[in-house]
Assembly symmetry: C2
Homo-oligomer: 190 residues x 2
Amino acid sequence: MSHLGYGCLMTVDRDQVLRTAAALLTRKPTATMDEVARASGIGRATLHRHFAGRDALVKALEELGIREFEAALDAARTDEGPASDALRRLVAEVEPAAGLLAFLVTENQLFEGEVNEGWDRLDARVSALFRRGQEGGEFRIDLPPAWLTEAFYGLVGTAAWAVQDGRVAAKDFQYMIAELLLGGARRSVE
Amino acid sequence: MSHLGYGCLMTVDRDQVLRTAAALLTRKPTATMDEVARASGIGRATLHRHFAGRDALVKALEELGIREFEAALDAARTDEGPASDALRRLVAEVEPAAGLLAFLVTENQLFEGEVNEGWDRLDARVSALFRRGQEGGEFRIDLPPAWLTEAFYGLVGTAAWAVQDGRVAAKDFQYMIAELLLGGARRSVE
DNA sequence: CCCAAATGAGACACTGACGTCTCACTCCTT
DNA sequence: AAGGAGTGAGACGTCAGTGTCTCATTTGGG
């Protein structure tokens, strides 16, 4: 474990720290580096050995979020079967990362310029799903895919917060998002 | 203008400053007190004469937002006519305050405890609208009013940001929110 | 016209968080 | 057992933002 810059246990721990940091910053976006370190059960110095600074930590978090969301998109097989079902699968797959996504979205909101190019790729994939649904006659065409994509992010984040604060039940997460996004609040005439 | 604590011009300017601060903080939530002052064309000292500190400013902003949202609820006459139409009216009335609302929602998100009691009142009114729609058979009953309320806030904020960043057209603001919230993305079988 | 109030600019101290560094201490390997 | 790598605790210096203060200047009313 001394022959490499990234030793065997190091990366594991790094990832562990990253997940803990994600969980904490999701709940308290203004958490201190010290709080992040304590939350992971390590010292502030060690945290700095893993991540050069707060910016580096956030950037690493961003890459983790992008990776997880991309994995969710893969696992959901968004280009197979009916778009509605694909969207439902996507919501289900994205649930574990919802809090992190919510954090990153608001974080991006206040970062001026130079956004990670990974987001564009993800936006494109989500957008493509909605477009596919539209072209297949499954989704309505009077709402632009860009808006549906934004709304997807927004609802996922909103639901994550609402669950966090206990305003809605965690078990309804997937159902509430998918149903509202797909069918809306109005009772459909069946 | 010397016989009162709140002189004639003072309150006007205070409100003016508040609106400017709202507009700025909506775009840049981390803006400095100095930036807020400059944006209003006043000195930092004068800003401190109006608002004791940053906390006081945010609190005043919160009260402004609550006031405006309450006014929107009043103007939308949410307890009259079909719930769908009432919701559409509400979205229309809330549009000018959408950015401020988005700012306050995320601000509240990171504030632990002691939320302004005004929010409960607003939540109750929005929630009541959805419940009315459900009881009237107009809205589906499998989505809890609390979730619909959260989703409403979420979509308004998301749309405000998306418009801000030019990802969607500003003129579609009302339509996109109301249509998605009411009808969802799926093409309804008419 | 004059005076009082309000303002803007700047100086100042204080705070909180950050980033760097050192120094014991604890494992783990050999 | 001995050596080294990694760690935790803590002590700095730095910096940005805040809140307070003073003082010269402007503004508006009497």
